[in-house]
């Protein structure tokens, strides 16, 4: 075989493989949406699930997922920002910084199930928080912190040195420079990353099985007292999220329409992830336009 034919053959193979990936993705999305969207209705999105009867919905699960997302981000974002700022601005190069970097890397590659088990051992049992939304949020914080740190570092390293130095040269303190000059400039990167991280939180299930629990007590959506056990706003109640629900009905669902519910819930989950993705892109572009002169 001549070199030219080989080249053409190799190119064809690579293009085919790339095409296969696109086809797999299209098939995946198409399958989930076609199978699932038919089952999605207002009733499905708002009503409570049924254990053995048909016609259950995913209302509480959807609410739990969103609530958990908000709780997690409230804890993760400040901590991650702080740690990221330390790594990018305060850490002096040396052994200690290298060690911390290694630790963050290790934490980011821990399997989510191990994070969930740690949550079970420490947050649920030792701290006595039980299976609750709050335990789940703490476990997801552990899971998401390294990502948030990396995002912050990435954002801050993109700030032009001249801008930072100009601020410092004016006699403004380092902390104030970071807060009022560097963070706003790196906002597009940080915000985009945060929204993508939020998408990850939304779909996470393994870390929640043993922290937020696999059951959802009856919720009374007219009760807005956060201390009442039936109130949806109570962060100390067990809560099954959408992703956990999908797993549960696939492995032990008793309802006769379990496959349809799983398909519908998957479609909703995928749509939410798509929305997070698009939102991240859109916000990133919008902020870019606002903060820089770039088109």
């Amino acid at each position: 075989m001549s070199a030219k034919t080989k080249d053409k053959l190799a190119t064809a193979v690579i293009v085919t493989l790339a095409g296969i990936i696109v086809l797999v993705m299209a098939g995946l999305l198409g399958f989930i949406l076609v199978r699932g969207l038919g089952h999605v209705s207002f009733h499905f999105l708002t009503s409570a699930p049924q254990t053995i009867k048909e016609g259950g919905g995913i209302g509480p699960q959807l609410f739990n997922s969103l609530f958990l997302l908000v709780l997690t981000m409230i804890i993760t974002v400040p901590l991650g920002l702080g740690a990221g700022i330390y790594m990018s601005e305060y850490a002096k190069p040396g052994k200690i910084t290298d060690t911390i970097r290694l630790i963050v890397e290790v934490l980011s590659s821990f399997p989510s199930i191990v994070v969930g088990l740690f949550g079970l051992l420490v947050i649920v049992n030792t701290f006595g928080l039980g299976f609750s939304l709050f335990s789940g949020a703490l476990a997801l914080t552990v899971f998401n912190l390294p990502l948030m740190v990396r995002i912050t570092e990435q954002g801050l390293s993109g700030v032009p040195a001249a801008q930072k130095e100009a601020s410092l040269a004016l006699g403004i303190s380092k902390w104030k420079t970071i807060k009022s000059i560097m963070l706003p400039i790196s906002m597009p990167v940080i915000l985009t990353g945060t929204i993508l991280a939020a998408g990850r939180v939304f779909g996470e299930a393994a870390a929640l099985l043993f922290t937020a629990g696999m059951s959802s007590p009856r919720l009374d959506f007219t009760n807005w007292n956060p201390l009442s056990p039936t109130s949806p706003l109570n962060p100390f109640r067990p809560a099954e999220t959408l992703a956990v629900h999908i797993w549960k009905i696939n492995s032990e669902g008793l309802a006769p329409d379990a496959p349809q519910i799983a398909a519908g819930a998957s479609a909703v989950l995928i749509l939410m992830v798509l929305i997070f993705n698009l939102l991240a892109r859109w916000v990133g572009r919008l902020m870019m336009k606002k903060f820089t002169a770039a088109k």
Binding site: A3, K6, D7, A10, L28, G82, I100, E105, G171, K179
Partner: protein, 299 residues
């Protein structure tokens, strides 16, 4: 008056400086404390099966898992084999696909690649693992059941699902590595009259090999630790399978299934923690392999 005013300013400056230092140091210390307590707690709990319940190291590497038997047997070898074979097979499937996708995006058709393939890969990365599991259960398992003998559940189904999940990891790292390759290397090869494939196979891929391997190892690490998607398609039978299409278990799947059904502190529960400990140690191994590869890549 002005004197005191200046003093105030200096003071405020110092206060600001210290707030910043303290707040950010607190965050990083918290992060370090979390990871150390995580390793400590999982390790003590994982080793308690050996120290408290008198489990022998040889027992955990036995081939029979019968926690309810008389006497109970805790051979975890089937799970360890299951975990390794699914993640290895997933990497074997995903590596050529991921590297081809990266080559396509960087070397062959950058415009089309960046416009269509890149968003597709990013979307794949964002799809939750339970959804992969669900699709695996409703598409891949029936497909394998029709084509091959057996139930369709097993290592092959698990590896197929995992390979799609780890594809984005491999692709994005390979893309970065290929894009950061100095143009001179390629141009030199082209100037010698080499075809594109000769350039790719003899110059580009060998130079970026450590980075490509990094991506593959990271993908394997992710596959190794993935729990729910695998649990849904692996079948969960606790023995070493004779074929790729026979029901088996992985470390993560057995933890997922049994952790909730055993009593905290019982021997079976402690052995499950031992499995979690093995999982954690494997994570360390993966991280160090990645570090080693990265050092190779920098040279």
């Amino acid at each position: 008056m002005t004197q005191s005013g200046r003093k105030q300013k200096v003071k405020q400056h110092v206060i600001e400086e210290w707030t910043g230092k303290i707040v950010t140091s607190f965050c990083i210390v918290l992060l370090v404390v979390i990871i150390f307590s995580m390793v400590y707690f999982v390790a003590t709990k994982g080793l308690s099966a050996f120290f408290k319940d008198g489990l022998k190291l040889s027992e955990i590497f036995g081939t029979t898992w019968k926690p309810d038997g008389e006497p109970p047997l805790f051979g975890a070898l089937p799970f360890i084999i299951g975990s390794f074979s699914t993640s290895l097979l997933a990497a074997v499937i995903a590596a050529p696909l991921g590297i081809s996708a990266a080559l396509f995006m960087v070397e062959i058709m950058p415009n089309i690649g960046r416009k269509y393939l890149q968003p597709v890969i990013e979307l794949l990365a964002g799809i939750p693992s339970v959804v992969y599991g669900f699709v695996g259960l409703s598409v891949i398992v029936p497909l394998y059941r029709d084509i091959f003998p057996g139930q369709g559940l097993g290592i092959a189904a698990g590896a197929t699902v995992l390979s799609i999940m780890i594809l984005p990891t491999i692709t994005s790292i390979a893309t970065d590595a290929l894009a950061s390759l100095p143009a001179g290397l390629k141009e030199g090869s082209y100037a010698l009259g080499a075809t594109r494939w000769q350039t790719l196979s003899r110059t580009v891929i060998p130079t970026t090999l450590p980075a490509l391997m990094t991506g593959i190892v990271l993908g394997m690490a992710r596959a190794f630790g993935e729990a729910l998607a695998v649990q849904m398609v692996i079948g969960n039978a606790p023995h070493i399978p004779h074929s790729l299409f026979e029901s088996t278990s992985t470390l993560t799947s057995v933890i997922t299934l049994s952790m909730g059904n055993t009593v905290m502190g019982s021997m079976q529960n402690n052995v499950l923690w031992t499995l979690a400990f093995i999982l954690m140690m494997m994570t360390f191994v993966f991280v160090f392999v990645v570090r080693w590869l990265e050092r190779r890549a920098q040279r």
